[in-house]
């Protein structure tokens, strides 16, 4: 679902979505059931935007799931095609 939303909203040239939930099992924040995800996303749309603006675009794309605690934690690496990964 995260992958699909990012794909639609940001037209990435590269997209990785890792579910790291297993690394956090049992810790306080994970009790609500939300997953821990890590995203690496490369898109032209990030050109000229600072980190805050890029992360906000990713958060916005994921939308409701972020607020509803389906996603408890999201680590983001948001790059343009000419920035090194």
């Amino acid at each position: 679902m995260i992958r699909q939303r990012l794909q639609t909203a940001l037209a990435p040239t590269h997209l990785e979505v890792h579910d790291d939930s297993h690394k956090h099992r049992g810790h306080e924040g994970a009790k609500a059931g939300g997953g821990h995800y890590r995203v690496v996303i490369v898109s032209d749309r990030f050109a000229g935007l600072n980190r805050i603006q890029r992360h906000r675009m990713v958060y916005d794309a994921i939308g409701e799931a972020m607020r509803a605690d389906v996603v408890h934690a999201l680590s983001i690496q948001a790059l343009t095609p000419d920035e090194p990964r």
Partner: protein
Amino acid sequence: MADIQDTIREQVENNDIILYMKGTPQFPQCGFSMRAAQALSGCGREFAYVNVLDDQDVREGIKQFGNWPTIPQLYINGELVGGCDIIMEMYESGELQKAVDGAGQEA
């Protein structure tokens, strides 16, 4: 509780460096807050912090205030710098040190 936004604004304006986190720098309650607090401590300047777990209104209010859905959140000179990922990236590149050194310098 409309004034929670005023309370937060006051905290952010009255502290050059302020970190909203889960737990305290000594006893962080979340890995992301822990990393953010450690990076900030590594810059060698005192900073204010708010433990959002102490106050449910602040915990929800800060997300609205920053237009940012997660905690931790770091503010320097009244501006949102970012969450854990951005703080760590900036720490590793030396930008965080510069931002911290510049705290309180602006008019």
